[in-house]
């Protein structure tokens, strides 16, 4: 006979494990489906300084493992599974994964968000071979090398500054003719001797010989193209929610986030969305864990 969990949680970040913790403590059976390791996006952040209770900061990976252990202490279980498909309208709800099918009376979607990609054909195959999305994670590999940063927002500016301290040269490929980032970044970037700008430009192609060797940039006004030799390309053009899995069943907003208010309820009964994947004003660890607690409460109410 198939086991039906009270709650299936898709995604083992802070929102997901908090939902599992609250569910388990309320006496519900809960399983977290995580494709790699606990923590989600914060697992790549070495120091989190805005999560209350850790006056000296806390390592994101460790915080993730602690949240996992805490939920498991009360009986929640983890399956390292990649979710391929979900039928959220079925009764019970079905989630199909690399480790088999799982059944839940409720489902919490905690799939988070990931970096937005340029969408170039070679991009995927060059991840880890010169294409990177996180300067704080991968910057160390480019010590003394030349890197291109693509993007014109605050995160691109912050990445470029960080990389300028490690890399020999940083070239920012910027769509416009002036910085769009907040003023605090302007002066340091202009003052950095090893930072250059390719204004009014977009990346058209990534060049490689097994790993990244350069980019082709296109001038948005003249259409003129030129090559820039580099060892790494840091893509910093924002984030996108991981909603591919549920986009045909659940109501999303224009940017792809799951439409759910503070109650975390989605348009499907018994399906809740928590953390970065949900429409909200502020995407932080602390708001994700808050969502997790609310979702468990709502699930309890739904099951009663």
């Amino acid at each position: 006979m198939k086991k039906v969990y009270d709650m299936l949680v898709i995604g083992g970040g802070p929102g997901g494990y908090t939902a599992a913790l609250y569910a388990a403590r309320a006496g519900l059976s809960a399983m977290v489906l995580e494709k790699l390791s606990a923590g989600g996006q914060m697992a790549l952040t070495h120091q989190i300084d805005n999560y209350p209770g850790f006056e000296a900061g806390v390592d994101g990976f460790e915080l993730g493992e602690k949240m996992q252990a805490q939920a498991q202490r009360f009986g929640a279980v983890t399956e390292y599974a990649e979710v391929y498909e979900a039928d959220l309208n079925a009764n019970p709800k079905v989630v199909k994964t690399s480790e088999g099918d799982f059944y839940g009376r409720t489902v919490v979607i905690a799939t988070g968000a990931g970096p937005r990609e340029l969408g170039l054909s070679e991009e995927q195959s060059l991840i880890g071979r010169g294409v990177a999305y996180c300067a704080a994670c991968d910057g160390m590999f480019y010590k003394g090398k030349t890197v291109v940063v693509v993007g014109d927002g605050n995160s691109a500016a912050a990445d470029a500054l960080l990389l300028s301290r490690v890399a020999e040269k940083v070239i920012i490929v910027h769509r416009r003719d002036s910085l769009r980032a907040t003023k605090i970044y302007h002066q340091p970037l202009m003052n950095a001797e090893n930072v250059e700008f390719a204004w009014n430009s977009t990346v058209k192609e990534i060049l490689s010989d097994g790993k990244v060797s350069g980019v082709v940039v296109r001038d948005v006004n003249s259409g003129e193209e030129r090559q820039i030799a580099c060892d790494g390309v840091f893509v910093s053009i924002g984030r996108k929610p991981a909603t591919e899995l549920v986009k045909d069943q659940i109501k999303l907003d224009g940017s792809g986030y799951i439409v759910a208010d503070e109650s975390t309820k989605t348009n499907i009964d018994g399906v809740f969305a928590v953390g970065d994947v949900r429409t909200k004003q502020l995407r932080q660890v602390v708001t994700a864990v808050a969502d997790g607690a609310v979702a468990a409460h709502m699930a309890e109410e739904y099951l009663a």
């Binding site: 790699l36 790549l44 390292y80 990649e82 991840i127 880890g128 071979r129 994670c137």
Partner: protein, 105 residues
């Protein structure tokens, strides 16, 4: 059972053994390496009968890592009959490691 971290001597012994060897080249400062470690430990458990699943810290075994052509980590290399048969850089999920093994074993 967690995947064992080994040195050059142990690595050479394993290569001369009967089983294929899967090595995760990693370093303590590498965020992506830490992130795959729980899934990799699970892999070690799951394939214990068929494959020697181990790890090598590239900072401790710099010369060996250079010889094996490691310049990006985490990098998983599957050795068969003492030779590198296939490699994958930064697998995004446990399922990706499973299919890497299935494709190359």
């Amino acid at each position: 059972m967690a995947a064992l971290n080994i040195d050059r001597k142990q690595f050479e012994q394993l290569l001369n053994g009967d089983k294929p060897v899967l090595v995760d080249y990693w370093a303590p400062w590498c965020g992506y390496c830490r992130r795959i470690s729980p899934a990799y430990d699970k892999i070690a458990q799951q394939y214990a009968d068929e494959i020697e699943v181990v790890k090598i810290n590239i900072d401790d075994e710099e010369a060996l890592s250079d010889e094996q052509g490691i310049d990006i980590i985490p990098c998983l290399i599957l050795y068969k009959n003492g030779k590198a048969a296939a490699s994958v850089v930064n697998p995004p999920s446990k399922a990706a490691i499973d299919s890497f093994i299935a494709d190359n074993l």
